[in-house]
Amino acid sequence: MKRLAQSILVLGLGCFLSSVALAEGSSRLLLASADPAFLLPKDQQEMSPCKDKTDAHRIELVQRWEEEEKAQEAENQGKTIQRTMPDPFQPLNRGLFWVNDRLYFDAFKPLARVYGLILPKDVRIGMRHAISNLHAPIQFFNSILQLKMKKAGTVLCRFAINSTVGIAGFLDPATRMGLEKVNEDAGQTLGVYGLKEVFYLDIPILGPSCVRDTSGKVADTFMDPLYYLLNTWFYVGLYALDKVNEVSLTIGTYEDFKRSAIDPYIAVRNAYYQYRRQLIQK
């Protein structure tokens, strides 16, 4: 009964996010037909020459803007300029970014340091492989949904090899055999079928995301056999273990990235956008 209630709750959340995504997408499309500048992210709409202009000037200005963009595009090796994703809730997201930043420095990092002192690096790497191996069905189903059969085959072979020869996934002999880890999730699947990011979301603990990828995460939970096999607390505990284990192995990466940024919030948002886009294109 409890499991059913949880499922309904998660499903409800997923449906809500998907409907928001679709509603936002269609309304944006209608507005975009009137003013292409609307398609630009909020921070770059300000740059658009359409701002505060009468309708008579709009078409001409938009055309000029487009011409300028095209010229810039040609300059940039003929590639489309990547824009960043819309962020209508920037003040809220900035607040949540600060929360996540504090969570990292005050909770995850100290915890990961202690964890790293207890467990040797090789054990932690083994743990990462094992947890990743347990989530193989998510990658398998998403590869199938994206009709990437070769990737689905790779996931299957990796799972078979690493679960047996790799001692329950702690070792990764499959990579040495040339079967590189596949990284597919439902967020990417939705992206492959044309769903845009809709808008940016910074979620506490989970970190940078967007409406599409958050919906994807919900869908991934349903695709994960562990969700049905494990008690909810064990499932959440496994996630926490994975997170702390990962932080313990990559301490310094976030710090370096933050240090190199002029505006860390914008830098993370844009890096997330670019990273997810290239994953979808792969």
């Binding site: 090796q77 990547q82 590189e180 192995l249 505006d263 844009n270 670019q274």
Partner: protein, 202 residues
């Protein structure tokens, strides 16, 4: 007979002239990137060099291989043409300083990561070189892409992508965001302050 041979030789030289004059890079992009990275790795592995000497040596290679003008142009994007040449120059110098200050103490963190050189794609005057960095701390090898431009017969780097994240694009968005709310001079001031702060903490 002898004059005939000389004329034939001259004729052949004339035929070859367009190819000789054409200043296309002699070295392939992947070979150039490889040579620069190998030089950098040799410096990092040299136990005789002190950390600041390593940084200095590596920056010499960086200056030879990166076209900062092209980098700055792309970071400013559409605004490059809207600002005065002096401001462009100021920005180029400042941005270069900022990036260098950023990486000044990161070379010490090198812990034997291996570089795998992948394919190259040439679309004159541009080219791309794909790399993979093998590091134990990450689950998968890190994919990298160097974007180069042919500058008078030499391939110069103007952007680096890590896991599909373009450095130029990332800074462009950050700088655009500042420029939405403040002037170009204020943006330059922000960049200068940031570079100074980085130098102090280095």
């Amino acid at each position: 007979m002898k004059t005939g041979k000389i004329f034939t030789l001259l004729f052949l030289v004339c035929l070859a002239l367009p190819f000789l004059v054409w200043g296309g890079p002699k070295v392939s992009p992947v070979d150039q990137v490889k040579s620069e990275i190998e030089q950098g790795l040799a410096i990092l592995k040299n136990p005789k060099l002190k950390p600041h000497e390593k940084t200095e040596e590596i920056f010499k290679i960086v200056d030879k291989s990166v076209d900062w003008h092209e980098v700055a142009k792309r970071v400013l994007g559409i605004r490059w043409r809207r600002v005065a040449p002096e401001q462009r120059e100021k920005f180029t110098v400042l941005f270069k300083e900022f990036v260098k200050a950023n990486y000044a103490n990161s070379f010490e963190k090198y812990s034997g990561e291996k570089v795998e050189y992948g394919k190259q794609e040439i679309d004159e005057p541009y080219s791309r070189v794909f790399l993979k960095i093998h590091s134990k701390i990450y689950e998968k090898p890190i994919s990298m892409e160097c974007r180069l431009i042919d500058k008078e017969g030499e391939w110069m780097i103007y952007d680096i992508l890590t896991e599909g994240v373009s450095m130029v694009n990332n800074y462009r968005v950050q700088i655009n965001n500042i420029l939405v709310n403040s002037s170009f001079d204020k943006m330059l001031e922000t960049l200068r302050k940031k570079a100074e702060k980085l130098k102090k903490t280095a």
